[in-house]
């Protein structure tokens, strides 16, 4: 995967308004924790040096305890936690306001082991590479198709589990353009670690251009290899799982391939998307993503190459 253009992956890179709000709570907690750790560590260091056994030590005074002191540090600890508790409540309610009658802008569906992205208001279905407009508060619906996954981009802040039969919602308002990376964050079986997320935040005008392109039916192939590739694609079992709009391929088991040529990676961020990589993926996907549901199709290398040539025309 080519990640050289991506932004630094970190929870401290606030790419959304929501991440920024969590960041505030995170810093508050960090400061409190460091202070407490330093106090405990400091007392411990002092005790180790000061009260180490020395020759001729008398038997220490047997101090059984002090109720006032006990109550004092119980209440003290409680007060620190009360501060944290109030901050937590405030941040929670500001991040996830009531949904009201809002419809989701993006539906994220976790599959074993790839991501489907639907834009119901724009009529777009795509896979593995998410595009978002900058500066708009977007409602996400997160679903699981098979097992539990979790959608998380560190720079976006909150993660949300994708649970079958239990749709979840969350808001992201992207505030920085750029490419942000993530990985599925709930263990989901064989390829959990290879179920990567690539999100691109674009200024609104460029996002609209992208969306316009995605909504188009791709043109027919014109080169001989690609034409042959399309025939092979339609004649083989490819169409049992994949769909390409404007053709007879309409299955929704695997990723939608309508504009696969416009993507930068294959296999949910596992390898770069170019003609040789796509051809070798089609020949044997198990080599790149062991255990994934796309089998080795036992195609002749020349046929795999022609199918790849066709798919690369789908921009």
């Amino acid at each position: 995967m080519d990640i050289t253009n991506a932004e630094f992956t970190s929870v401290y890179l606030f790419a959304t308004e929501q991440a920024k709000v969590i960041g505030f709570l995170h810093y508050a907690d960090l400061v409190l924790s460091i202070i407490i750790a330093l106090i405990v560590g400091g007392i411990l260091a002092y005790v180790i040096v000061r009260f180490r056994e020395k020759p001729g030590d008398a038997e220490p005074v047997q101090d059984h305890g002090n109720t006032k002191l006990e109550i004092g540090w119980t209440v003290g600890t409680g007060l620190i936690l009360a501060v944290l508790g109030v901050l937590t409540a405030g941040v929670m309610y500001s991040m996830s306001p009531p949904l009201g009658t809002n419809q989701p802008d993006v539906i994220v569906i976790g599959h074993q082991w790839w991501w489907e992205y639907r834009y119901p208001k724009l009529g777009i279905i795509t896979a593995n590479e998410l595009f978002l407009p900058q500066g708009m508060n977007l409602l996400f619906e997160v679903r699981g198709a098979d097992v539990v996954h979790s959608f998380w981009i560190p720079a976006f802040g909150q993660k949300m589990d994708a649970i079958p039969g239990h749709p979840n919602f969350l808001f992201y308002k992207p505030i920085r353009s750029g490419i942000y990376l993530g990985t599925c964050s709930e263990y989901c079986g064989a390829d959990h670690g290879l179920m990567r997320i690539i999100a691109t935040v674009l200024p609104v005008a460029r996002f609209n251009a992208w969306a316009h392109g995605q909504a188009q039916v791709p043109p027919e192939p014109t080169v001989a290899q690609a034409i042959h590739g399309k025939q092979l694609f339609m004649a083989n079992t490819c169409i049992q799982c994949h769909s390409i709009s404007g053709t007879g391929a309409k299955a929704r088991v695997g990723p939608d391939l309508t504009h696969i040529g416009s993507r930068t990676t294959l296999g949910s961020g596992v390898i770069p998307n170019d003609l040789p990589s796509l051809a070798s993926w089609i020949t044997n996907p198990q080599k790149f993503k062991p255990g994934c549901y796309m089998p080795n199709m036992r195609l002749k290398p020349a046929d795999a190459h022609d199918i790849a040539a066709y798919l690369e025309t789908l921009k």
Partner: protein, 558 residues
């Protein structure tokens, strides 16, 4: 100190001097709580070494990006077995074993209340554990992680029998745990020596009695869930299959209803061990014994009401989440009280830094760090961000390895002379300690940073070019070799000292609780007579005037 030994058989110096313990048959057929305790602990230690080696494979695999040291499917089996082994086959048997060994000695009893049940519990545990390891040969080890979330564990997604072995094995082990927990409670309530009122039993046992109640109340959640997943897999029911009207979240509730008390079940014996070790090596009575006991009771109750903090990212409504955030923060208060009391016990003492005390000291700081990162997870939005990342891996290793395991090791250095009659080598012990501290903190501290840099847990590998990931993983992996080496050094010390260690005598540490009032190792009958028990420190009372006597639990002189 011979005049303080309350048994007629005073010529016992090592286990070899007890002819009742000679021969394998005497161990296999034993209903003696000491033999069963030793077998429990020994089995737990063997599983500790196995799980440490599994962890080493994980660290080697993550050393460099896009590594192929082990295959993806082997990796998934290995981290599942590492977690399951550490929780169920290392933590549980060692804590139960320590308790069944020490409880009758601490309260001046001859044996546990139900000796045969005790033996049954050990053997069914062993059988359950071996059943799970048999799965490596029987079609594949489980590969769904130690909390095994369905629908992944449904047959449609994991067809191999690993998950079935896992559920059957944990059911058997769970039966054993509940049996022993009942035994521990009944023994503590019915077999105490004259004068040994509930507020005079040692804090270790106080905590283990509460621990046993937690086992009894928490395990049914797991057992119910295990039966349901077995039915789903074997009888084609659909408890956890959403496509057929089941619920994926049901498992998470049931599992964590068990799973969160379980982490307190694991840590409580650690608290108990350091609450015995710190006073003895500081030559001071435990500070605020009543608050120590009461805070454990509070934690016991609260721990049953915090399980949803493992599910903050499942999209439950804010009100539900906040209730559980509140209880989770509340539990930090009694936990904090314990830390302050340990520090107050050390304050003004005359501290002997034996290996046992060194481990107890490191425990206090490492457990505090683990506790503080734990509070971060109670703050729901931080949990939304960091759950299921390497930050959480760092957190629970600070609590369970830097906390629990360090405390147990402290307890081993403290009680090993009582169990075997010989001292553990302090020279090897000091090496063991420093290698453990460096190895542990080196391996796990950087994992906090990896979590903040967005590395999710349980990933087989990660892409090249992620800022900082390769360097931090490499550093962690190198330190993990030091850590695993330190465990093998410990094992060597246990074996070496068993044959060559210095003869300990009945009470090498000048400790104060009843287990030190008999020979090391104790004879099968433990005691022939007992000292008067007028306080929580009967052996202290024998050498001190009454007005110096220790207060009982509650702060009042008992």
């Amino acid at each position: 100190m011979t005049e303080l030994v309350f048994t007629k058989q005073k010529n016992i110096n090592t286990l070899n001097d007890i002819h009742e313990y000679h021969g394998l048959w005497s161990w296999v057929t034993s209903v003696d709580h000491k033999q069963i305790g030793i077998m429990y602990i020994g089995t737990g230690l063997i599983f500790l070494l196995i799980a440490a080696l599994l962890a080493l494979v994980i660290r080697i695999q993550l050393m460099v990006p896009m590594n192929h040291f082990v295959s993806q499917s082997a990796y998934n089996q290995i981290f599942t077995m590492h977690g399951t082994t550490m929780v169920f086959f290392m933590g549980m048997p060692i804590l139960l074993g320590m308790t069944v060994y020490l409880e009758p000695l601490m309260i001046g009893a001859r044996d546990m209340a139900f000796p045969r049940l005790n033996a049954f519990a050990y053997w069914i545990f062993l059988f359950g554990a071996l059943l799970l390891y048999f799965s490596f040969m029987g079609g594949g080890a489980p590969s769904a992680g130690w909390f095994a979330y369905p629908p992944l564990t449904e047959k449609a997604f994991l067809f191999d029998p690993g998950t079935t072995y896992w559920a059957l094995s944990l059911l058997l082990v769970g039966v054993g745990s509940v049996a022993t927990a009942i035994n521990i409670i009944v023994t503590a309530f019915t077999l105490r020596a004259p004068g040994m009122s509930m507020n005079r039993i040692p804090l270790f046992l106080w905590m283990m009695v509460i621990d046993s109640f937690l086992i009894i109340f928490a395990l049914p959640g797991l057992n119910a869930a295990l039966v349901m997943i077995l039915f789903d897999r074997l009888l084609h029911t659909h408890f956890f299959a959403p496509n057929f009207g089941g619920s994926a979240l049901l498992w998470q509730h049931l599992f964590w209803f068990f799973g969160h008390p379980e982490v307190y079940i694991l840590i409580m014996p650690g608290w108990g061990a350091v609450s015995e070790v710190i006073p003895v090596f500081c030559r001071k009575v435990i500070y605020g014994a009543g608050f120590m006991a009461a805070s454990t009771v509070a934690i016991g109750f609260l721990s049953m009401g915090v399980w949803v903090h493992h599910m903050f990212a499942t999209g439950l409504d804010n009100t539900t989440l906040y209730v559980f955030a509140f209880t989770s923060m509340l539990i930090a208060i009694p936990t904090g009280v314990k830390v302050w009391n340990w520090l107050a016990t050390m304050w003004g003492g005359s501290i002997r830094f034996t290996t046992a005390m060194l481990f107890a000291t490191a425990f206090v700081l490492q457990f505090t760090i683990g506790g503080l990162t734990g509070v971060a997870f109670a703050a729901v939005p931080i949990d939304w961000q960091l759950t299921d990342t390497y930050f959480v891996v760092a957190h629970f290793h600070y609590v369970l390895l830097g906390g629990l395991v360090f405390a147990l090791i402290s307890g081993f250095y403290y009680w090993y002379p009582k169990v075997t009659g010989r001292m553990l080598s302090e020279t090897i012990g000091k090496w063991h300690f420093w290698l453990s501290v460096v190895g542990f903190n080196g391996t796990f501290f950087v994992l906090h940073i990896l979590g903040l840099l967005g590395m999710p847990r349980r990933v087989w590998t990660y892409p090249r070019g992620m800022h900082g990931w390769a360097e931090l993983n490499m550093f962690s992996s190198i330190c993990s070799f030091i850590l695993v080496f330190s465990f093998f050094l410990f094992a060597y010390n246990l074996v070496y000292s068993f044959f060559k260690g210095k003869i300990a005598g009945p009470n090498p540490w000048s400790a104060w609780t009843l287990e030190w009032a008999t020979t090391s190792p104790p004879p099968p009958e433990n005691f022939d007579s007992l000292p008067a028990v007028n306080s929580r420190r009967p052996l202290w009372d024998l050498t001190h005037e009454p007005d110096e006597r220790v207060a009982g639990i509650g702060g009042q002189p008992a």
